[in-house]
């Protein structure tokens, strides 16, 4: 935990969406421990509903899911709150999907399996950037 990230008090809100519960189970405590507020979802419909009434700083979403997929979640989130940063995590990483997600405004694209530390770093990077902007 760096000093900057806690500089102005407000906790970062993270939404995690993955249809495999294990991913949520592993990520949630890791982020909580760093002082983030975390909500997890295993169905994109309920995550989308939540996004409508609450703004999140960061969204971490799986790509391939029943119902709305990660790209759709990305678009929907950006439509509601353009400043939301989105990290796409997927086990089906191809250059094409990576390109597409960047084009649609994803902040980062992470292939599963990934190291816990890598995704924490990624979020920290976003946080520093956002804190920097608001200062």
């Amino acid at each position: 935990m760096t000093e900057e990230s806690n500089g102005n008090g407000k906790r970062f809100r993270i939404l995690i969406l993955d249809d495999e519960p294990i991913v949520c189970k592993r990520l949630k405590p890791a982020f909580q421990k760093q002082g983030y507020e975390v909500e997890t979802f295993t169905e994109s419909a309920s995550a989308l509903a939540r996004l409508k009434d609450t703004a999140f700083d960061i969204i971490i979403t799986d790509l391939k899911m029943e119902g709305a997929d990660g790209m759709q979640v990305l678009s929907a989130a950006k439509a509601v709150a353009p400043e939301t940063r989105v990290i796409i995590i997927t086990g089906f990483a191809t250059l094409e999907t990576a390109k597409e997600s960047y084009r649609k405004g994803a902040f980062d694209f992470v292939a599963k399996p990934f190291k816990l530390g890598d995704i924490l770093d990624c979020v920290r990077k976003i946080e520093q950037e956002l804190r920097g902007e608001t200062q």
Binding site: E3, K25, G91, L116
Partner: protein, 873 residues
Amino acid sequence: MLRKFKDVLASWRSKKRVLPFGVHFKKFQSILERNNRILELMADMGDKSGGEYVFDRQYILDTAEQLDDMVFKLISDLSILTQSKNVELFLAFEHIRQAIQEELDGTHAPSGKSYILPLRELGHDLSEQAGGKMSNMGDIRNRLGLSTPDGFVISTRAFYDFMQQNGLLALAREGIEAWDGQDEAALEQLADTIQERIMSAPLPRSLTSQVLAALDDLARAQGIRNIRVALRSSAWGEDGDASFAGQYETVLNVPRGQIMDAYRKVIASTYSYKAWKYRLVKGFHEHEIAMAVGCQLMVESVVGGVLHTYAPHVADGVMVANAVWGLCSPVVDGDAPSDTLVLDRAAPYSLRSLSIADKQRRLVLAPGGGTEWKDIPEGLHLVPSLTLEQLEHLAQAAMSIERYYKRPQDIEWGYDASGALQILQSRPLRFWAAPLNSEPQLEDVTRNAEIVFSGKGVVAQRGVAVGKVFLVDHNTDLTTFPYGAILVSRYTSPRFSRVMHKAQGIITDVGSPTGHMATIAREYRVPTVVNTEVATSLLRSGDEITLDATQNVAYRGSICALDRFTLTEEDVFEDSYEYRLLRRVIKHTSPLNLLDPHAENFKPSACRTYHDITRYIHEKAVEYLIRLSERQEVQHLSAPKRLETKYPLGLMLIDAGEGTTCRPEVRTATPEQIASIPLQEFLKGMECADMWCMDPVSVNLGSFMSSFTRTFPTLLASPDEVGRNLAVVLKHYMNINMRLGYHFNIIDAYISDIINDNYIYFRFLGGVTEFVRRSRRAQFIATVLEHFDFRVEVHGDLVVGRLKKLSCERMSLRMRMLGSLVGYTRQLDARMHTDKDIQEHAEAFITAMKHFLGARYDGREQRKRQAFSNTDS
């Protein structure tokens, strides 16, 4: 006549398609390549099980599918190469593939066929067959090395057969489906009916005889005439995430004649109203129910009780033990007053407070079976039932168990008449309460703590450790390692497995997360960070630290909040379905059983894992290529030549074109006749290493050289051990497959004037020598290869080094170095006495190489400088 016969023979022969050697060799190379990819994929699965990675079920499915595919193609390759059907290999493959598929499908019916499972063979891997509680007891006994009463388990298979043959599973399922979910009396009625049916139903035919036989074996082994046992429930999931505490039956002090009735009683308790209700509330499905029954020697404890390793409602950082004279069950059932002891969670587990109860009676074993109350002599009423020594020992054991399960534990224990501590049961303690508001936020605590290091090295096993540093080097007598300490060392060493049950955590300066020590740390679930580079320079013995091996940070001081956060985490990674699934799949892929090609079991039908199959195929492919050239069944190929060297290399050369200057038909070659550039260099290097070994004085390398001639006689592996090794050579190319003793070496190299085509691939897979030395050797090789600019990956025994696109001269020097390395390494086991030797040998070897390669040698530094002016990839 003779000529005619010969002609006939020749024409008959030519009907069999004679392929050019190049075609065979291409297939052979594709086998090697696939072989490597399979090994790397298996190593990758091992890495993922450490806890640093987030993976999902899809990863396991994908990896298993890739492995299936590659192993299948590997066998097909061999079939094409040797033009044989390899039915046995395909069958072995199919068995393994199916076993993996069953794991993936979660076919929940018990996989094993046996009714009886000895406790000494149990562990969490067998929880499907032995149930939750007893597989935990297996871990505690077999992994953590603590004492538990000896015994066996009557498996879930027995439960299935019993229930099914009496139509009881269907009865329960249909009954619960028909239940409206409201009418409690109806559920109670259903429960009663099933329990009654269980108590009177006939048992499967051989079950009774098998149980009695196991019981008699146990009695014989223990030298007991009138054996008495405790029968304990061990359902799927019991003592796991849902504790089921007190839901199922335990029957104590059962004599031989009553054992099957007691068994029925435990089985029937599966369907008691309260247990059924508990499952329904917890969301268990009817098909998720199976009951194994533990059958353990009855321990007449002198003092017994319960210990909770964590008691935040009492005080921060404490454990609480309750103890009574006699059997421990009055503490569990709460029907007798007990002594209460509050002690530190951290070593040396000092007693903080003691309140002595007035203990007037104790529960003992009744002569006819069951238990009975006995009065306690008055003089003992107010005497503490546990000594401080016993308490400390109990605390040590309890913390080992907690650390292993990553959860506070609720432990039933007893000290028997001989004074030995017996662990009777251990289940997770769960805390639902949110932390108090007055407590500072975790991130504030960690922010204010002094960081010793952060983000250094690699997490080999996740978790949090709070304790005092104990620095260890190769001289340290590990028996002095204190309970609850954090082991800090320069190197990783599998030797540390001896103290893993005592260590809270492990930190090393050097090492790989896929090395042997890391593997063992995972077995013991000790939070471990390796390769930090700085740990031993920043930490001193006695320093109190907190290691967070999930975020990879070490803090100064003990941060109990962090410990608490982890202990109260909702899910333990190691308990997750995906983790267990990955471990189960790995059991079918990675262990190597086919070790010795000369052994009788070196055959397709003995292959039990994918590793076995790849090992077998590699051996056969090498053998085939040698025989192929011997029989001269390929076009334009000279006879295989035995390379004549001073040292027993057992190398058979196949000259596929300008690789030697020998005449095609001769059967031997000398090193002088080698024309293949890579092999020439390789042999020069090898001779050099050999010279050191035999005559240390002639090279001025001082104590380094004498150290190994002292410990090692001049000659080494006998030719028998060496077997037949293969080298296929061309002018600019060589491919060596070498088995020296029990380890394997593959080198594939192309060296010419065209820089972009040049490469060396080096693979080393350790043999079957002692664990410790094997891993030291792998580390040694990796260090040396890295020094010479190879891109190196180490996974346990497997070392892979790759080098590309250097000039012919630089490539040649490195080939020569490899010759020395191989020559040197084949005897290295015996010389790797301590972990310190790794670095010393590496340095000495590199120094020796400088002498040997002379002025033309260019080390890593020089290469780095060159990198600026060179765009080579």
